[in-house]
């Protein structure tokens, strides 16, 4: 592996190290025959975690990730009908997808209380930006998503006249001319101390 300016740089196929008790293979690597090899061209970093040390290969620009069950994704709502909302997944975690994929939020996955009486049009509107969690890979076209949870739901929205809305409560957002109903996400600021 070459090093320049103190970075360790590698190409796919290069052997990084041996798999031992506390050294784990992270993103951008694969294990074969008890060794960890790189699978991306990038910088090798070792990140200490509670389980041990995780070896990752990353390049400054984001790695290629696809949504998998449990990941939190950022989506734009495309259309809303009484049973489900169709969304376009644009980011997975903090990685922007090069080509967006489709997902759906079904009526029973919008919130975790009173799931039968959900009115979709009072939860999402087209062009809202929402945070959702991936439930499963879904079917061929769409991932299955859920917004049940306090930190999931609408993050950014515009009112019918085009003014930006700010959260006012769990179910309403306000702008300067009106109040609209949404399923609002409680977005935690980055350096919040836990309550």
């Amino acid at each position: 592996m070459k090093s320049g300016n103190g970075h360790i740089v590698c190409v796919p196929g290069q052997r990084i190290c041996e798999v031992s008790g506390n050294i784990l293979a992270g993103e951008g690597t694969y294990t074969f025959n008890k060794y960890i090899y790189a699978s991306l061209a990038g910088q090798v970093t070792v990140v200490p975690t509670e389980d041990g040390q995780v070896v990752k290969v990353t390049l400054g620009r984001q790695g290629t990730v696809m949504p998998e069950a449990g990941s939190v994704v950022t989506c734009r709502v495309l259309s809303v009908n009484p049973n489900q909302a169709t969304v376009l997944i644009i980011c997975v975690g903090s990685n922007k997808l090069h080509s967006p994929v489709s997902g759906t939020v079904k009526k029973q996955n919008v919130r975790d209380y009173q799931i039968d009486t959900v009115e979709m049009y009072n939860c999402f509107r087209p062009d809202d930006i929402i945070l959702a969690a991936v439930l499963s890979l879904g079917d061929l076209r769409n991932y299955e998503l859920s917004t049940a949870g306090t930190e999931l739901g609408v993050v950014t929205a515009y009112c019918e006249e085009g003014h930006p809305l700010v959260p006012a409560s769990w179910t309403t957002m306000k702008c300067k001319c009106r109040t609209e109903r949404r399923k609002v996400a409680k977005v935690m600021p980055p350096k919040s101390t836990s309550a």
Binding site: V9, G13, S39, A41, L59, G60, H98, S99, L140, R141
Partner: protein, 279 residues
């Protein structure tokens, strides 16, 4: 009238290129001093040039020149599968080799012919062994190769270009894949043949028992101590010669691998510098 391409201005229907009517001088493969007509010895490969990041719209791209053969590759993906495909837990690879009409001395039709479709299929099989398919369920990766000039060793150049472009696209792969091509003529092994040499070998009327043929190999140099991901052989070659040819091919691939690796490392270091400048 039915098969005429109405989008392009073509010559008269009965026209053929004049080069087919010229007397073809059969250049000797090896002159008396042991060199081929372009000055190489029988086992010398041609000069290489590689670069990545040539197509801005593509997720990853590469440009490769082997002698006069010029190939450009663009990789898109992983993205949603096309409508109408099956649900698959591993990724689909779609590969298309397109030869520009001006790439050969005889104009090629813009529609892919049998040779291009066959190369696309062989390349797809090779790339499916290299990419970590399980990482991208329900997705497909598109690899588009454009041949700008064909001067021999085309499939090998395509494999190398595709391998580079996929690495540039930040798609997980087991290893870099490199291609090499060889030719046997009159019992002598020639490394990295040019188009003229391939044609002369291809046109030779072969009696049963006489040897001659071509070999294209795609190799992953480092994965599991070296794996072959593509092997295409044509003609009649004995098993011993084939084994010897494979060893020569592996050597050529090692040389190309050094340049591929350097190209990718230069690109990574450039990216890292750009990121640290901007942050």
């Amino acid at each position: 009238m039915g098969s005429r391409d109405s989008r392009r201005i073509l010559g008269p229907e009965k026209s053929i290129p004049y080069s087919l009517l010229q007397t073809q001088e059969m250049k000797h493969f090896l002159a008396e001093d042991g060199l081929r007509w372009d000055g190489r010895s029988a086992v010398d490969p041609r000069k290489l040039f590689m670069s990545v990041g040539v197509i801005s719209q593509a997720k990853g791209s590469s440009y490769l020149e082997v002698g006069n053969t010029k190939v450009c590759c663009g990789v898109y993906g992983p993205m949603d599968v096309q409508r109408g495909s099956d649900f698959n837990m591993s990724c689909k690879v779609l590969c298309e080799v397109k030869m520009a009409p001006f790439s050969c001395s005889v104009r090629k039709s813009p529609q892919p012919d049998k040779q291009q479709r066959e190369m696309s299929r062989q390349l797809k099989d090779a790339l499916e062994t290299v990419i970590v398919l399980d990482k991208f369920p329900k997705s497909q990766i598109d690899v588009y190769l454009t041949v700008i000039e064909d001067d021999g060793g085309l499939l090998a150049a395509c494999i190398t270009a595709a391998g580079l472009a996929i690495c540039h696209a930040n798609i997980d792969v087991y290893d870099l894949v490199i291609g090499a091509s060889l030719l046997w003529h009159d019992g002598i092994l020639y490394a990295d043949p040019t188009h003229h040499e391939e044609e002369c070998e291809g046109h030779k009327i072969r009696n049963s028992g006489s040897e001659g043929g071509q070999l294209t190999v795609g190799i992953m140099p480092k994965y599991a101590n070296g794996q072959v991901s593509l092997l295409v052989q044509g003609g009649q070659i004995s098993a011993d010669n084939l084994c010897e040819g494979l060893e020569v091919a592996v050597e050529i691939c090692q040389r190309i691998y050094t340049l591929s690796r350097k190209t990718l490392i230069d690109y990574v270091e450039q990216s890292l510098e750009a990121n640290s400048d901007s942050s």
